[in-house]
Symmetry: D3
Subunit: 235 residues, 6 copies
Amino acid sequence: MRICVINPNSSSSVTDHIRHTLEAIKREDTELCVINPEHGPVSIESAYDEALATPPTLELVKWANEEGFDAIVLACFSDPGLDAAKEISDIPVVGIEEATLHMAAMLGHKFSIMTGMRRRIPTREWHVAHRGLESSYASSPALEMSVLEMDSDPVTAKARIMEKARKAVEEDRAEVIILGCAGLAGYSADIERELGVVVLDPTSVAFKVAEAMADLGLHHSKAGRFSYPPKKEIK
Amino acid sequence: MRICVINPNSSSSVTDHIRHTLEAIKREDTELCVINPEHGPVSIESAYDEALATPPTLELVKWANEEGFDAIVLACFSDPGLDAAKEISDIPVVGIEEATLHMAAMLGHKFSIMTGMRRRIPTREWHVAHRGLESSYASSPALEMSVLEMDSDPVTAKARIMEKARKAVEEDRAEVIILGCAGLAGYSADIERELGVVVLDPTSVAFKVAEAMADLGLHHSKAGRFSYPPKKEIK
Amino acid sequence: MRICVINPNSSSSVTDHIRHTLEAIKREDTELCVINPEHGPVSIESAYDEALATPPTLELVKWANEEGFDAIVLACFSDPGLDAAKEISDIPVVGIEEATLHMAAMLGHKFSIMTGMRRRIPTREWHVAHRGLESSYASSPALEMSVLEMDSDPVTAKARIMEKARKAVEEDRAEVIILGCAGLAGYSADIERELGVVVLDPTSVAFKVAEAMADLGLHHSKAGRFSYPPKKEIK
Amino acid sequence: MRICVINPNSSSSVTDHIRHTLEAIKREDTELCVINPEHGPVSIESAYDEALATPPTLELVKWANEEGFDAIVLACFSDPGLDAAKEISDIPVVGIEEATLHMAAMLGHKFSIMTGMRRRIPTREWHVAHRGLESSYASSPALEMSVLEMDSDPVTAKARIMEKARKAVEEDRAEVIILGCAGLAGYSADIERELGVVVLDPTSVAFKVAEAMADLGLHHSKAGRFSYPPKKEIK
Amino acid sequence: MRICVINPNSSSSVTDHIRHTLEAIKREDTELCVINPEHGPVSIESAYDEALATPPTLELVKWANEEGFDAIVLACFSDPGLDAAKEISDIPVVGIEEATLHMAAMLGHKFSIMTGMRRRIPTREWHVAHRGLESSYASSPALEMSVLEMDSDPVTAKARIMEKARKAVEEDRAEVIILGCAGLAGYSADIERELGVVVLDPTSVAFKVAEAMADLGLHHSKAGRFSYPPKKEIK
Amino acid sequence: MRICVINPNSSSSVTDHIRHTLEAIKREDTELCVINPEHGPVSIESAYDEALATPPTLELVKWANEEGFDAIVLACFSDPGLDAAKEISDIPVVGIEEATLHMAAMLGHKFSIMTGMRRRIPTREWHVAHRGLESSYASSPALEMSVLEMDSDPVTAKARIMEKARKAVEEDRAEVIILGCAGLAGYSADIERELGVVVLDPTSVAFKVAEAMADLGLHHSKAGRFSYPPKKEIK
């Protein structure tokens, strides 16, 4: 099985971090490819960043289809361009937010999503609502650190995560904690042990869901929402 | 007052159609500018089209801010790039779908949205749900005509609209009909007369809402979801 | 264009306040008429007050139709009698709560509604829910002042509003503040400057929405919920 | 126990019909009083009718409190003035729609509400939604007969009810049928036998709920939404 | 009228407590039978307890049908086995949670449910959501006492209830307090007096609803969800 | 990895069918055990059947924990006893309905659930609603065949499935079809080819989700809803 993980931002250090995390959990017989677009924003922290990152990401989705991969993982927690990617792809495209929210809903009564900046809490809220999972949602504690800060200062990031997660568990009654940012891949085991709740690393969860989909030969339905885009002139 | 209407597709004939419609309803003292990006898809009928149309559209949003317009109207019914546009803009950005759905909810119990292709019905459904307006939603009758076909064959388009709208009124109990496609601007008066319901032309509605916002000196709140994107390197 | 603004309570000082506010924002060519019923409660702070205020208000709605106005604004934040008014009117009737909730939903992720008395918070909650806007709703901070107290002591009213609004922004993450009481018309500009969020004066918003509807020649759909009441004996 | 049933319309024949129905089901030791206001519309089929019927109905609510009744039933399926009645009453006020919707939700998966005119379907829909019972709601088949027609031609009314109810059961999967109109009191036993579903006569259901509340010494909470209206001048 | 109240746990002291409470409120002509299964858990505080208690409870439901009772009350606040009981019963089966949630929704804007252990709050939340009553729900304050502790130490239980209920009223704006545990039957009158809100004892409420259903000759609809189970081999 | 699949009914032929299906899709290094309780109903088609099947199923859940399996799959589409199983288990318990509904929501806009008997449609509806997935739900076409009939007459079952599924796709706009009954395991590949939509076999989907959870070392959160049941006397 060959899985292509696309980091939609243009930061190769984040890409390397993701690759490192997934190498440790992939099945032995799974071939892993982690890439990012050459162009576009170096991190994704706004709808504007998402908009700019999407076209080059979609080019990589096309490439992964042409190269014969069995599944694609979009490794940014906001799932930028996910619907468009599903339209143009014959193989399953798994958004890490999408897969993780559904997994979290099965593992506990309510989940909290650790997020980078306070300005992104509304995005978390409506993405949860869009999937109908409001009653499984506890809160989105904001770390008030950018993706790059988290990447460059993991000690502070971890401490901040612990403090915010504890509050989510005790006050918001979160039973599952989602690390809502691709840059945080890899912290989950330590944190779970200290807090006594389930902690989900979205990239890992989505990667395993992608393996499961590929095993089952699944793809997105082409009968409606994700049918191929009409052919047309692009000026 | 100066209002910039951006047609996010690259078809100048649609742009001309929009301009023609709005010239007839603008206030005398409102200065109207209708433009489209040079590059991008010639019509928007998929999430993929939306993704490609968004970056050049956002460039025009920046331009309209720099040029000192008082408000912007995004004239494509899927409101592509609306959130990103609000983030980067100091002046109000009015999506024609957004403004029309809210207006329709005030004018009758339920509305139906005439849409081009059956494949876009899911998009209509979740855009309505995203705004919480499910209980005001009757249906999305699909014309099964592309935007360009509607533009090139207005006689067939009108006949099809009438048939579908009648069914929406009688069977789905729609009290308001939304012409859910920028290419249809201008049909509303005739149809309303024949069907006895209120028909909304989204571009016209949004344009008047933009005038109202500008009169009130309103803009999007910069305190959260639509605050300015963090500055960063774009490779 | 001629717009009739009906203050449903019988307090002419509130009516004068509304007139003063709207004179400052109306379009030059709009003719403004602000009136109130002679009979009924002097303020509206309960469902009981609403019930008593509605029949005389509906008489004014009929009068405005007979006099050939182009639109009506109901200037009490609870929109008393709004559905009945739409049934008996040929011209658009704009409730200030209805128009403002929809406008607020377009301008930020969540809004808070400043309200007079704690006892009215449930009314705010179900009016928001009735329109499907729960996910855009942050809170209803209660000023614990009556409409008449706010009218007679504007200094205290403003201070109280500032304190409550600040809490709504910081704790409830409101991005838009609605001044949920006709008696507060006119405070919005000052408050917006101090708090950095968008503040909406419902009477002003609804008035501009009424102008927009009249420009578009819109009226409520007569095809269902707001069709004319059956003729019958009234004993 | 003494229960006051208020028919909010001014038709004494409907009042007599209600009295007849309830005499047959009241507990032996319950004293029954059924009254209607002298003034107001002779039937209630619009929001406008509701608005006019409410003030005289509220006068009767006050009277029933002064007379020492143990509970009040509002015997019109739209529950006109229910919130205001609860505010001004020390004894429980049971709306026949409110009580019946909640009872129906306990007795089957989905209920349908037989209603008089198609124009009232939206009212049924939002009253159901207001109580959160959408997932228990199947449909509102409209008889297209006025209350007075149903009262004057019971044979046609019954035939129409049977036809519409059968469709609700077979196509909309209604398991419970609500006779959504006070004028229909008394048909439930016959119809239930023929259709094999549960049929609820709202006036009867509400009357028994009122007896239950009175037995339990219950009243509406005065701690918030239904607290007494502030005292004030009524011009 | 003969009503069978089934306490689904195997604790006869709880059964006695329930009998004592209901003897005081039953109608003179109602014959009361309160029983519990011989086998199964002595209290019900988990989904596992519910699962074990259900089969022996269903045996008692069958017995009550055979004995010719007019209605059954299931006297455990989680309503274990309620759906199955309705399927196999010809007479109405009233769950004390189900009946009380619907009653509470009629008596105030929001209710809080006093519950035993924090671990049961999620159960309260989804039971409320299952009935569509989220907008009437304030909170579920946890007493952190087991049913048996509450039964053996009523003084502490009452003090704890008062503290938690006061917080629910002042902070969560509960207008109605539900004593969400069969073991608490009997405290409601005292507490209501001290707190100024309505307090519901679920067993009492459900018992009176059962009397009302029996008076009306009601039963669960057998047309769908609660039709008789298909006959089959039980190994 | 060792996965224990529990068929909650007592029919060994269904168990064999499940084993046959899963043998074909399991990873080479996964050890598969498929079992059923000795006692209980031979099929599960009512809440009553679920109630009787649950206690012996929970015994098998305990056994699988003691035997050191890595994950459990509950192979009945109604997920009987799922919450209780999660409480008493240290290893993940995957309900086939739960896993499949979440998977379906990722693969298309709306899904339909093929179900056996019309009487089970309400169960499908509230299980979907319980997970918040109403907006992804198209319909539950009923085959009107029992589990045992489907098992004994696969030709008729397949034909019926095709007819019902086609209607779901064309009229209800289902993009994904779920075979909502363990007895149907194995039909998915053929049907998908003929209908052009994605067809999900719930047992297969849940099995792969269980493998994914085991790979990730996931288990249900023990911090709240699924914490261990309090120890107590079981009479």
